[in-house]
């Protein structure tokens, strides 16, 4: 009987060892050596995929006779437009429909909310062209030319194909030129960022010869300030200027028959790299757009660049980088008898065109027969062009944020020993929250709010993805953890597991006995 008791005790001891080690010890070890991870909203990130990127847009119609007939026709032709949901509303305008320019000047008529468009029907006899696109958010069209309005809307104002490409390229990680060759415009656009530096540099390789009479800082600020303040909802653009001396292009130009020095098209890529070394800022982490005015050497003046079509130009544009203009000093400038005073308005106008391309707003719209765009009155963008920019930025930032979040959650699932601290977790939740808000704002047609949310979402997502703490423990993989603890586990686990065998054997014996007594 005593032996039975001691057997029971021993088995109890074995069991309690097993329980303490397997039930308390191992989970405790697992927990204490675990990588710290804040739970991420993975379901919500997966949900983001469902979004269709449909933008709601209000189109106001003011016709001569029947608004509803026009709305019906527009509805039929536009309902297949991808990425857009239209709401048509008719408005009563008591205006004198004889002169487009007069209506254009009445600022109270034009819609003020970004994204909206007003269609105004005009009697055909007062119109020079069939369709006139104003500088605000209004389109004037002559009676019976509604089909052209639709065409204008599609190609100039909505640009839904390009929008779709932007979304798809962001979501599939393919560059746009792989998808479609024709969207050159999209390729030259700078990548999304909350802040940009626009750096205007005047380069004078021979300051001992050429002396300047040019206030670059004033010229740049006076010319570009209105545009910069108009762009401020999209991103903060900072104007900067500098002078650089003794910097040369480092390429030997060729002399042509007319005594012009020519840089050929294939020399251009070799110009930018040496310039970059001197232009860079070093401190700013924002993308820089460079606008360079290069004074050519006195020995090599006049200097031109041969364009692809063979014509000689003095300005080049480099996608996503900026532009260079050449300034040719004359003999008087070179011998020091005259100060070189560059043609400021021409210089700035060229830089403006380059900046518009970098922003993604073309300067030469594909022509549509019978339709014209009123000329730009100032350096600012047209109101509807700003809306185009709003839509592109919103869609781009939102899809990029979505893609970043998806990649991040996938990465964190695959690599289990990446630390996720509170900061990263908060950034991720913040980004998800803003993408969701932005999506609903797009559905509601609130373009301004959508842009704001997309900007925040993009920033937070980038912040989470590039957070340095993600890399902290990457070099201490799990197998090393096991290797370190193996001297403890093997000698302990073997006797414990083996004792389980004798415990189960003892139990079976015990059960057999009790059955017997029954």
């Amino acid at each position: 009987m005593a032996e039975k008791e001691s057997e029971k005790l021993r088995m109890g001891a074995a069991l309690s060892f097993a329980v303490i080690i397997l039930v308390i010890g191992i989970p405790l070890w697992w927990k204490t050596t675990e990588v710290y991870r804040v739970p991420l909203p993975n379901d919500r990130i997966a949900q983001l995929k469902q979004f269709d990127y449909k933008i709601s847009m209000s189109i106001y119609v003011s016709s001569l006779h029947s608004d509803s007939a026009i709305i019906l026709e527009l509805n039929n032709t536009l309902k297949d437009t991808r990425m857009f949901n239209f709401k048509f509303k008719s408005v009563d305008l008591s205006i004198d429909r004889t002169n487009v320019m007069d209506i254009e000047k009445q600022s109270s008529i034009h819609p003020t909310v970004p994204g909206e468009i007003l269609l105004i029907e005009m009697p055909e006899k007062y119109m020079d062209s069939n369709v006139v696109v104003g500088n605000h958010r209004s389109i004037y069209f002559a009676t019976n030319h509604l089909s052209k309005v639709v065409k204008v809307l599609n190609t100039w104002i909505l640009q839904s194909e390009d929008l779709l490409n932007t979304v798809q390229s962001a979501l599939t990680h393919r560059s746009i030129n792989q998808m479609q060759k024709r969207v050159v415009k999209q390729e030259s656009r700078v990548r999304a960022s909350p802040e940009y530096d626009l750096i205007f540099s005047t380069i004078s390789p021979q300051p001992e010869k050429v002396k300047f009479d040019y206030d670059q800082a004033a010229a740049v600020t006076n010319f570009f300030a209105p545009l910069i303040s108009q762009l401020s909802p999209i991103a903060n653009h900072r104007l900067k200027s500098q002078w650089l001396y003794f910097v040369e292009l480092g390429q030997q130009p060729k002399l042509d028959a007319r005594n012009n020095y020519i840089l050929t098209h294939d020399q251009l890529p070799h110009i930018i790299s040496p310039l970059e070394k001197k232009l860079g800022s070093g401190v700013s982490t924002h993308p820089c757009l460079h606008f360079v005015t290069y004074t050519s050497l006195c020995e090599e003046a006049p200097l031109f660049i041969k364009a692809k079509n063979g014509s000689l130009v003095d300005a080049v544009f480099s996608p996503r980088w900026g532009g260079i203009q050449l300034l040719n000093p004359s003999k008087e400038h070179c011998d020091g008898s005259k100060y070189l005073s560059p043609p400021v308005s021409k210089l700035m106008a060229t830089f403006l065109i380059q900046l518009r391309v970098l922003l993604g707003i073309t300067d030469q719209y594909n022509s549509i027969a019978g339709a014209i765009i009123l000329p730009l009155p100032s350096v600012k963008l047209r109101d509807w062009e700003l809306d185009v920019l709003f839509r592109f930025r919103t869609v781009e930032q939102m899809s990029l944020a979505q893609m970043t979040l998806q990649s991040l959650s996938q990465l964190l699932e695959e690599i289990s020993n990446i630390v996720i601290n509170e900061e990263v977790g908060a950034s991720v939740s913040d980004a998800v929250y803003h993408v969701e808000l932005g999506q609903s704002a797009l559905h509601e047609g609130n373009l301004e709010a959508a842009l704001r949310h997309s900007k925040k979402a993009y920033q937070s997502a980038e912040n989470a993805f590039t957070h340095p703490s993600l890399l902290a423990l990457l070099y201490f993989p799990d197998d090393q953890k096991y290797a370190v603890y193996i001297p403890l586990f093997i000698p302990i686990m073997i006797p414990v597991l083996l004792s389980m065998k004798s415990v189960s054997f003892w139990k079976r014996v015990l059960r057999g006995k009790s059955e017997k007594t029954d």
Binding site: S6, E7, R10, M11, A13, A14, F17, P207, E208, K211, F212, D213, Y214, D215, Q216, A217, A218, V220, T221, R238, L239, K240, S241, Q242, W243, Y245, F246, K278, G280, S281, G282, V283, S284, Y339, V484, Y485, P487, L488, I490, P491, I492, P495, V496, S499, S502
Partner: protein
């Protein structure tokens, strides 16, 4: 005064760019030192005539835009950086124009409206480290102090609302090694880069085999000349100090020339500079062995200040044209070295004590002047060298001296360094010894650098004093921007700041495989202990009858049995197979035929 006036008019006349309000000056001072070394000091000064207070630094002309961006972003009023290799030997070389400790030193004054100075300071040093390719990013609040007495704004300040030391941050990195990768970005900050002017002399190959070289960047605000200083303007000074040892230059004589020192002659001035001057100190021509200068200098200037007269030969590079030329100094007779007269104040520093437990830092301050001199002594001791304030002893000639003022902020591990500032009066012609004791301590294993046995650096102490005489003094007066302003600049006193040697302390260094060993060993011990305990508690020792069928004996028996069985079977097979098979074989063969 007249000269200044003329200079000013010329500078306006030469202004090559009508709208620009910044002016650039380049200067080089060459000075043969009594020890036979040659000291060359480059100073590139940019004065920007624009209101510093409201400046955003977005647009720049001669002022480097990259530096301007840093200054504008971090709300800085004054910035001083020095990157130095080697130690300036005050005892034999006298005082340099700008003193600098070995390694890197940064101090910055932030503007009054700057909030969260510590954060800005951390960001500033990170930005500067990118700008100068130095490891300044290792500077943060754990190795920075805000000295109350030693440092004052060197430029203009608002008298009604002065900045106090809470807006000052000072740090050194004595371990920093200065080389070409720092010189190249430093040169990029110059408007002419190294394409033209005096900067062409700065070739990495020649300036890095000197005994001492130091790069400096000093930004401050100064008063507009001839104004009541309501709108301070910006002054940026970039300096290079080099000390050449003529013996290293493989010179059999004591003659030297610009080409010998820098490997290249001078080739014209920077066209953007208002003035481009070389000053050669020829004072020793009267006292020492006489020498000849070729070419003849454009001007000879005699400067007397603080009771000491020195003479400079001035070469105006603007007048030399663009051709390469050389400035050479030749001795007529072999040069005789005189007994060196040490400067008024100099210092030495060393570590005392033995063993791995306690040590002490001793600084010896020498005063060679006939009158007592009051100095401020500043120590910035890293947190891993805990010093004891009560052990601070100041002795002179065997007697203990009571300091005039003591400031001490004890360090906190990993948070802030030990800061000690002492104001003490040095007796005439005496050596004063300041000593303090410290403990050697262990660090966390990840805090040791890759080569932990090299030792840990303790930065230089800074000694600030106002000298009554200008012996060996080469510095600029506070209001002066150019070296020219130090001519005849007699003042009641002359501010000097000396940096002592940096120290290396050998902290106890552990075996770095220790953590792994500890885990493994502890696990093994636990496992070893666990086995017997588990056995005793779960198993019972029983006497057993020897059963042949069980255990090893049983196994052997069974194996023997199996073997014999196999053997017998094999034998049986052999006997049975022999005769009948051969028979049948032949039979079948026959049938086949």
């Amino acid at each position: 005064m007249m000269k200044h006036f003329v200079f000013f008019i010329i500078s306006i006349h030469l202004a090559f760019c009508v709208f620009q309000e910044d002016h650039f000056y380049e200067e080089l001072l060459l000075k043969p030192l009594p020890s036979g070394h040659v000291y060359s000091y480059f100073q590139f000064t940019t004065v920007w005539n624009t209101d510093y207070n409201s400046h955003k630094f977005d647009h720049s002309h001669l002022f480097p835009r990259s530096l301007g961006e840093v200054v504008g972003r971090f709300n800085i009023q004054e910035l001083h950086i020095s990157l130095t290799e080697g130690l300036w030997r005050h005892e034999s070389w006298g005082y340099p124009v700008n003193d600098a400790p070995p390694g890197a030193e940064v101090w910055a004054w932030f503007r009054k409206d700057c909030e969260d100075v510590d954060k800005k300071w951390k960001e500033l040093t990170a930005a500067l480290s990118g700008l100068l390719c130095a490891s300044l990013n290792f500077i943060d609040s754990s190795n920075s102090i805000s000295p109350e007495l030693s440092f004052r704004l060197s430029g203009a300040d608002n008298l009604l609302n002065p900045l106090n030391h809470t807006h000052l941050r000072y740090a050194t990195l004595p371990r920093e090694i200065v080389c070409t990768e720092n010189l190249t970005p430093w040169k990029k900050l110059l408007p002419c880069d190294s394409k033209k002017g005096l900067a062409t002399l700065l070739n990495a190959g020649h300036i890095h085999n000197t005994n001492y070289h130091s790069l400096g960047i000093h930004l401050r605000q100064i008063c507009k000349p001839d104004s009541n200083c309501e709108e301070p303007i910006i002054e940026l000074t970039q300096t290079v100090s080099l000390v050449y040892d003529l013996v290293i230059l493989e010179s059999s004589t004591q003659d030297w020339s610009v080409r010998k020192l820098f490997g290249i002659g001078l080739g014209g001035s920077c066209p953007l500079a208002e003035s481009s001057l070389v000053y050669l100190d020829v004072s020793s021509n009267q006292t020492g062995s006489p020498f000849l200068l070729t070419p003849e200098p454009h001007e000879r200037v005699v400067s007397s200040k603080g009771g000491y007269t020195s003479e400079f030969a001035v070469f105006d590079i603007k007048k030399m044209g663009d051709k390469l030329f050389n400035i050479a100094l030749t001795h007529e007779k072999p040069r005789i070295y005189h007994l060196n007269v040490p400067p008024v104040i100099y210092a030495n520093r060393y570590i005392v004590g033995y063993g791995q437990e306690q040590g002490g830092i001793v600084t010896k301050l020498h005063n060679t002047h006939w009158a007592p001199i009051t100095v401020i002594f500043l120590e910035n001791i890293p947190w891993f060298v805990p010093i004891y304030f009560h052990t601070l002893k100041i002795r002179s000639g065997g007697k203990e001296i009571k300091p005039i003022l003591k400031k001490f902020v004890p360090g906190k591990e990993r948070i802030r360094p030990y800061y000690l500032e002492v104001v003490v009066e040095l007796k005439p012609r005496s050596v004063t010894e300041i000593s303090i004791e410290f403990d050697y301590m262990f660090l966390k294993w990840q805090e040791y650098p890759p080569d932990a046995n090299h030792g840990f650096y303790v930065g230089s102490a800074v000694i600030t004093a106002l000298l009554p005489v200008a012996r060996n003094f080469t510095g600029l007066p506070q209001e002066g921007s150019l070296f020219a302003s130090s001519m005849n600049a007699s003042r009641p006193s002359y501010l000097i700041q000396l940096r002592t040697e940096a120290l290396i302390i050998n902290l106890p260094t552990p075996d770095f495989s220790m953590p792994y060993n500890v885990i493994c060993l502890a696990c093994t011990v636990v496992a070893l202990a666990f086995g017997p305990i588990h056995n005793i508690t779960t198993k019972k020792l029983l006497m057993m009858k020897i059963n042949n069928d069980k255990g090893i004996g049983g196994f052997i028996k069974r194996a023997k049995f199996a073997l014999s069985k196999l053997k017998s079977k094999f034998q049986k097979n052999e006997t049975t197979e022999e005769t009948p098979n051969s028979c049948s074989c032949s039979e079948t063969k026959n049938k086949d035929d």
